[in-house]
């Protein structure tokens, strides 16, 4: 019996030749990640357990990105705990404000996470790195503390659901639309505890940035991880970033899947997820005319360069609607610089948008664009739960950067085709 890519990574990291779904294993981690919200709790647990030295200072990443640059005194104190621990333990992958980016954009960009790795992060969107052909998943602070002490984490080897995307995507249909369609189809617990393996000829044409978006939202279907087999696009992305060896794993032809779900992408139109669950997915046309107050383009889901290029293409030559706030948040400093070089920042500012320094900020209702009672936002983020971006009676509509940009111009949820004649 063959193994899936997820099983193979678990087998390698637990020193076994074969692992099967349901098996409980103790596995070695290549990278353990925490941020300014989850890190301080993990550090406290690490110290309480008598921790003196982390298992490997090169295998831990501490990123102050959620409420940083610090939004208030309390969040400054949290960042300080992270910073002092990083100094004390001489953590290699600590990124200070000014070099910091949103963790799930920064780590792949800097070549810290690589194909074949086993990565855990005290952040649910750690599943993003599956786009590189790595196993990566979110854990809590105590699991993270355990990993900082021992270099290990326990897992139950998951069954895998295979998602095959075939055909040619329609205009303005992106990785975000494919994953929203998938979550809409299987529901927010449709892949609970399961590995989601994304494959099919339609994915070959997706950029790395779009693949990261898809893997990022595996958690929104309850998935343990979202993973893709590396191909030339992956290896090209990794080539000049990797500073250590890595291993490419592929699923065996006779690997066993719990279920195989097939999507013809030619039938998929640009999507929006309505409040208050990411599974409430409809075609943009079915949500048109919903008036909005704010648009967020950014986050670990859609704050990468391709996302910014796409949004700028839609918005170029237009003005943001007079009563809408458009807040653009590049996910890393590199993306920020590239946007300036390519003239994208100029396009946004000319249109009347705010362009912020990297931060998770508004995505989780932290700061930099909180919603008042009754307000509605279109966001390229990942969650639209009650109160996620502010007041419990505010609403978040999830979309691609193209739909978000078109909506900012129209002041209501809009298809990109309403704003521009060009195509992607």
């Amino acid at each position: 019996m063959g193994m899936t890519i997820t099983q193979k990574i678990f087998a390698k990291h637990s020193g076994k030749r074969f692992v099967e779904p349901g098996e409980l294993i103790m596995a070695e981690v290549d990278i353990a990640l925490a941020n300014d919200i989850t890190g301080p709790v993990a550090i406290e647990e690490f110290k309480k357990a008598g921790g003196q030295k982390v298992f490997d200072r090169e295998k831990i990443a501490l990123i102050p990105d959620h409420f940083a640059p610090s939004k208030d005194i309390k969040s400054a104190e949290l960042c300080k705990i992270l910073r002092e621990f990083a100094k004390e333990q001489q953590i290699v992958h600590y990124y200070e404000v000014g070099r910091m980016g949103i963790e799930h954009a920064l780590l792949p960009e800097q070549g810290i996470v690589l194909p074949g790795d086993l990565i855990i992060g005290a952040d649910s969107h750690t599943c993003t790195y599956g786009a590189l052909g790595a196993f990566s998943t979110g854990v809590g602070s105590t699991d993270l503390a355990f990993a900082m002490l021992t270099g290990k984490c326990w897992f139950k080897v998951p069954e895998t659901i295979k998602f095959i995307y075939h055909g040619k995507t329609n205009s303005w249909v992106t990785g975000k639309d494919l994953i929203l369609h998938t979550i809409g189809d299987i529901g927010v617990d449709g892949a609970l505890y399961k590995a989601m393996e994304f494959t099919g000829d339609a994915l070959c044409h997706l950029s790395m940035d779009e693949r990261f978006t898809m893997a990022n939202m595996a958690i929104e279907a309850g998935g343990k991880n979202g993973i893709m087999e590396p191909d030339n696009t992956t290896l090209e992305y990794v080539k000049n970033r990797a500073k250590r060896p890595y291993e490419v794993f592929m699923s065996d032809a006779d690997a066993v899947y719990l279920n195989i779900i097939d999507y013809n992408v030619e039938k998929i139109r640009p999507k929006v997820a309505l409040p208050h669950l990411p599974e409430n997915v409809v075609d943009v046309e079915d949500a048109e005319n919903i008036a909005i107050d704010q648009v967020i383009i950014g986050s670990c889901t859609n704050g990468r360069l391709e996302d910014m290029r796409m949004a700028a293409k839609v918005i170029k030559g237009h003005k943001v609607h007079p009563y809408v706030r458009l807040i653009v948040i590049p996910a890393t400093q590199q993306i920020y610089q590239d946007m300036i070089k390519e003239g994208i920042t100029e396009v946004f500012i000319q249109a009347g948008a705010v362009v912020s320094t990297p931060t998770c900020g508004p995505c989780l209702g932290g700061y930099m664009g909180i919603l008042a009672k009754g307000e509605r936002a279109v966001a390229t983020t990942n969650r639209n739960f009650v109160g996620r971006m502010g007041h419990p009676e505010s609403e978040v509509y999830l979309s691609s950067p193209a739909v978000a940009a078109a909506s900012a111009v129209r002041g209501k949820i809009a298809h990109p085709g309403e704003v521009t004649d060009s195509d992607i």
Binding site: V41, D123, W154, D189, L277, R388
Partner: protein, 165 residues
Amino acid sequence: MIFKGNAWVFKDNIDTDVIIPARYLTTTDPKELASHCMEDLDPDFSVKVKEGDIIVAGNNFGCGSSREHAPLAIKSSGISCVVASSFARIFYRNSINIGLSILECEDCIKNIKTGDVLEINTDMGIISNVTTGETFKARPFPEFIKNIINAGGLLNYAQEVGGNA
């Protein structure tokens, strides 16, 4: 462990953003977190809940963010145990790791109402609805998980087994 308390019934897909909104994640103090527990669904929850009370919920309880502050807030609010049809993966791990009692049982949500008096034996996995006289059986935990629970959380367990974790 034996718990007895009033039931608080919640629906499917209770996410960690409503269990403890991110706007309160600037603190790690369990008491402060507890004072905002479930606030966006029921602003008075933290005032009304009594020591020993029990949450009963549907599928996918604790979905969303990995914040350990969520089970911490629930535990510190006085809730003794959460019984759900199913739990989101990270919340399940976090609860076991910090020593919040959780049980998986699909029949409870259909047969228990807010205010019913429940008695739970976590070792046996038995949930009794004292108000109606009905009894339900929770799904048993794997041996490894039981060991973590009995040790009082992951890090205690790690210390017990030493380098063999």
